[in-house]
Symmetry: C2
Subunit: 334 residues, 2 copies
C-alpha cells in the first residue's frame, strides 16, 4: 500500500522527527480528468518550514493529520485524462507520498530539452526547476543585476545560492562572493566559480565580507537574514540592491528576530531592498530554462545534489536541510 508523510504536530522552534508520521495512503479510484503518479523524486525546501506553522502567509499552512506537499517528479501509472499518458514524466506539487492522485492539469509534463539527455529527472526540482527560477528572477529582475556588479550570495552552497552565484558570473558580474557553513562547502564554491567564499561559522560575517569585497558590493542575494543582512547593508555601495529571497537564520526562531541595527544606511546609501516569491514569476521560466539548458550543454554551469533514499527518510532530510547538511539541491529519491 502506498504511504505518505503527514504533519503529526506543529514544531515550536526546530522541527523534530516527532512532528512527522508515516501513514498508509490508500489507493482511491480515479475520476475523469485525474491521473495517478508514482513519485520518483521529491523536493525538500526551506520554505516548507513556514508552512508547518499555523500562520497566514503566501501559501496556506500544512494541516495537522494531512499529508505534506511539495515539488515532486513522478511517472504517470494510470490516467483518465487525454492530456497525459501512462509513462509520462511529470512535475507536480504532491510530494511527501509514494503515489499522488491529482487532476492532469495540475501536473506538468516534462518535455525533453535538447542536450540535457544525461540529466536525472530530479534536475527539474533543482537546476532546471524552482530553485533555478528563484535564483534567476532574484538576480536579474529583483536585484536588476548589471554587468560589472560585485555580488554577494548567502547560503551560497544551497540549491538557490549555488545557482545565484553562477548565474551572476554568467550574466557578467565582475566578482561573486559566497558564504556557507563549512570549509567543505567553501571549497566547493571556489570550484564552481565563486571568486571568493567564506565560512560564516568561522568568524563574524562583516569582517569576512569586507575583506572579500574591499570596494563594497552592488548586489546582495539574501537567503539567510540576520547578521548576513546587517553585514551586507554595511558593505553595500551607493545605489546597491538587495533581493530578499529567504531568511533561514530565522525560520526556527521562537522569538521575534532582531532587525538590522543599521537600516538607516538604506537611506544614506539609497539602497533598494525587495522581497519576492518565485511563484509570482512563472512567466520567466522559459527564459530561465533556455539559459540554464544552454549553460549545462556548454559545461558552464555546475550543480550537485544531496540525495537521500526512501520516503521515510524525508523528515530527516528536511531537518538536515534546515541545519545546512546539504550541498546543492536536497533530493529524496523514492
Amino acid at each position: 500500500m502506498p504511504r505518505q508523510i503527514v504533519l503529526a504536530s506543529r514544531p515550536s522552534g526546530w522541527p523534530t522527527e516527532d512532528n512527522f508520521a508515516v501513514t498508509e495512503a490508500g489507493r482511491p479510484e480515479l475520476v475523469d480528468g485525474q491521473v495517478r503518479v508514482r513519485n520518483l523524486f521529491m523536493s525538500v525546501d526551506p520554505y516548507m518550514r513556514g508552512r508547518m506553522n499555523d500562520t497566514k502567509s503566501y501559501v496556506p499552512p500544512f494541516q495537522l493529520g494531512e499529508p505534506l506537499q511539495g515539488g515532486a517528479i513522478g511517472s504517470v501509472v494510470e490516467t483518465r485524462s487525454p492530456d497525459l499518458a501512462e509513462g509520462d514524466l511529470v512535475l507536480h506539487n504532491l510530494g511527501w507520498r509514494d503515489e499522488a492522485v491529482l487532476p492532469a492539469r495540475h501536473a506538468q509534463k516534462i518535455a525533453a530539452i535538447e542536450g540535457t539527455a544525461g540529466l536525472s529527472p530530479s534536475a527539474y526540482l533543482g537546476v532546471l526547476g524552482m530553485p533555478a527560477l528563484t535564483a534567476y528572477v532574484g538576480l536579474l529582475d529583483i536585484a536588476a543585476l548589471k554587468p560589472g556588479d560585485v555580488v554577494f550570495v548567502s547560503g551560497a552552497a544551497g540549491a538557490v545560492g549555488s545557482m545565484a552565484g553562477q548565474i551572476a558570473k554568467l550574466k557578467g558580474a565582475a566578482r561573486v562572493i559566497g558564504s556557507a557553513g563549512s570549509e567543505e562547502k567553501v571549497s566547493w564554491l571556489r570550484e564552481i566559480g565563486f571568486d571568493a567564499a567564506f565560512n560564516y561559522k568561522a568568524a563574524p560575517v562583516f569582517g569576512q565580507l569586507r575583506e572579500a569585497a574591499p570596494e563594497g558590493i552592488d548586489v546582495y542575494f539574501d537567503n539567510v537574514g540576520g547578521d548576513h543582512l546587517e553585514a551586507s547593508l554595511a558593505v553595500l555601495s551607493t545605489y546597491g540592491r538587495v533581493a530578499l529571497c529567504g531568511a533561514i537564520a530565522h525560520y526556527n526562531a521562537t522569538e521575534l528576530p532582531a532587525g538590522p541595527h543599521n537600516l538607516g544606511l538604506v537611506i544614506t546609501k539609497r539602497l533598494t531592498l525587495r522581497g519576492f516569491i518565485v511563484s509570482d514569476h512563472q512567466d520567466r521560466a522559459p527564459a530561465m530554462i533556455a539559459d540554464v539548458s544552454g549553460w549545462l550543454r556548454d559545461g558552464k554551469l555546475f550543480h550537485t545534489e544531496t540525495v537521500v533514499d526512501g520516503l521515510d527518510q524525508a523528515p530527516s532530510a528536511f531537518i538536515n536541510l534546515l541545519r545546512g547538511h546539504n550541498t546543492g539541491k536536497m533530493i529524496v529519491r523514492l
Copy 2:
C-alpha cells in the same frame, strides 16, 4: 558686522544651544564671479543633524569652528558676475549667516512663477523647494504611487510629510493617513485633506494605523523609522512599497537603534523598501514646480510655516524642529 553660526562642539545625543556659537563673519572683498547675498530666510532641516556628527555620509560633516550650511533665500547686494544683478533674489546653500559670499553659479536666481505672486520668498525653501521635491520624488518615483493606493505618511505635519500627503491625494490616492505628535497637528492634517490622522504619542502606532487602514496600506512614506516602520510593515498589503526618506526617531540616538522585528514580511508580502536622497533627483524639480504652482494657483494645496525671527534663534529653531515643535516648514527669518 555680519554674523554667522558656527559649530562649537559636536552633540552626543540631542543637540543643545551649547553646540552652536554666534561669531562675527567679516566682510571679505569679492573676487571675479562672486556675489554677496544678504540672507532673508534660512532653512533648518532634520538632515542637518547628521552633518553635526563626524561621520562619512552622503554630505560631508560640518566642521568644528566653521559656519553651518543649509538652504537660504537672499538678495544680491554686491556682484562681480554678469549673471546676477543687485537686487536679484537667489536660492543658495550658505544659510546660518547674515551674509553669504559665493560664486554666482552656486546661487540660483528665483524666477517669477505665474500666479504665485502672493507667496513669501521663503516658499522656495518649502512648498516650492527641497521639501516639496522630496515629497514629490519619494511618492511618485521611489514609491511609484498609483491611483487608488492607500498611503500612510509619518511625520505628516512636517514640511515634507504635509506635502507628501497632499500630493498623494492630488495624484489619485484613494485614502491618505498621517501620523503626527500632537492633537493640534492631527487636527491640521484633517483640515488640509488627510482622510485620517492620529497622534502617535497617544497610543501605539500599530493599533492606530490598523484602525485607520483596516484593509491595509499600499504605500508608506517614512520620515520617522522605528515603531512607525515596524507598524507599517505589519499593515502593508502584498506588493506594498516603502519610500525611506528619513528616520527622525533615530537622529539623536546614542545607541544603535533596534531594527524592525518583522522584516521577514518584506519577503512574504513581496515588499519593496527604497531609500533616497533628494539631491539625486534635481532633474524632477521642473515637473514638481509645474505641478505645485498649479495646485497653489487653484487653491488645492495648503501649506504653512513655523517662522522664527533672528539669526541667533536659529539653533533653538533647529532643536525645536527635532523635537517636533513645528507645523509645516520651519523657517528662520533674518
